[in-house]
Amino acid sequence: MNYWDIFKKGIFEMNPIFRLALSLCPALAVTSTVFNALGMGLCVMVVITANNMVVSLVKNFVNPKVRVPVFITIIATIVTLIILILEAYFPSVYKELGLYLELVVVFAIILARAEVFAMKNGVIASAFDGLGMGAGFAVAMLFIGAFRELFGTGTILSGTSMALQVFPQSYNGPMIIILAPGAFMVIGLMIGMFNVIGEYQDKQAAKSKAASQLTGQRSEAV
């Protein structure tokens, strides 16, 4: 398995939010605007990559019985570092994400990757796994954020210098998409959509497999 494959599987096949349904809290809480969603996504990407690398480096020195507390302490340290950096250089991002950023510590996906992947693989492979999983998470966050902001308020990237008014000023979107219930419903429907795509891909794969078997039999007959 080369590094590209390791990177790629996190984005669709094992997408943390839509496929594994892990780390859902921020997917609902901070996706009412694209800016927040992307900020959170990038933070998680950094944490998961750094954690995978550190765990993979120290894996031979950790007694398996105490591995979970060790991992949690490593994650908490990385998150504290990120929070201090954000607080110093990007106070507006820190203010928006606040509590949810602190709770990155207990993300199931980060602990799961350390346990499943980084414990058994080298540093570079672990880094790519973290990057892929983080990218999958960030893409999902971006997707949900864009949908909610676009249909809820009619803008994209509001609050930044690149703010774009997509729908006319008079657009009076359904408020519910921005509020809590809308978050649940939008993600529910998106999970359904991902299932449809996954089913279609499985069907295509089965079809091409059947076709190759058919040609195989034919060549044997010849």
Partner: protein, 192 residues
């Protein structure tokens, strides 16, 4: 009266699951069965109360005097994980029947956003000891309420004809959305 509004605010107005979106992994994972949800809700409510009290003591008597507030995440996580581990060993040793019932939930609770989130909220709001405990207990009751309601709804769902692609998690999310919509009715009732 002040304490009562704080309690009700934590239970319904700022419900942890449905308006603050914390503890969703457990919320969607466990609410498949009603009996498991009742057990989980009670376990979270009790552990949340005790661990918030512990966290308050450590925060106000160790972290604040020595100016180590920036380490609060590391300290709280380790504290809660140790407490839950200790509780698990103690229950296993002295009350095996209780362990049979609750044991599996304890592991899940150790790294859970609700249990870590409440001490962090208490710390940033500068609550005194009594307020911290009331806030924690109210949040736990709110979590239990949400997960029990959700489990009862999902048991009914077994007899419904759900489109194939939305079966399982998809429809659970939409259902939670409806539940959140009804909880939205409480918002603004108690300003926090």
């Amino acid at each position: 009266m002040e304490y009562f509004t704080l309690f009700m605010g934590a239970v319904v107005v700022n419900n942890f699951v449905l308006t603050r979106f914390l503890g969703l992994c457990i919320f969607f994972g466990v609410s498949k069965s009603l009996s498991a949800s009742v057990g989980m809700g009670m376990a979270v409510a009790s552990i949340l109360t005790v661990s918030s009290a512990l966290a308050w003591i450590v925060y106000n008597f160790v972290l604040v005097p020595y100016d180590l507030v920036f380490l609060k995440i590391v300290v709280f996580v380790v504290l809660i994980a140790c407490f839950v581990q200790f509780l698990e060993i103690a229950i296993k040793r002295y009350a095996p029947a209780l362990y049979e019932m609750w044991g599996i939930y304890l592991v899940l609770i150790a790294t859970n956003c609700v249990v870590l989130g409440v001490p962090l909220i208490n710390a940033s709001a500068n609550f005194d000891f009594l307020k911290s405990i009331i806030n924690a207990f109210g949040s736990g009751v709110g979590f239990a309420l949400a997960i029990i309601l959700m489990a009862s709804l999902r048991e009914k769902l077994q007899y419904a004809d759900v489109p194939k692609t939305l079966q399982g998690l998809g429809i659970a999310f939409i259902l939670a959305g409806m539940l959140a919509l009804s909880f939205l009715g409480f918002s603004g009732m108690i300003p926090l």
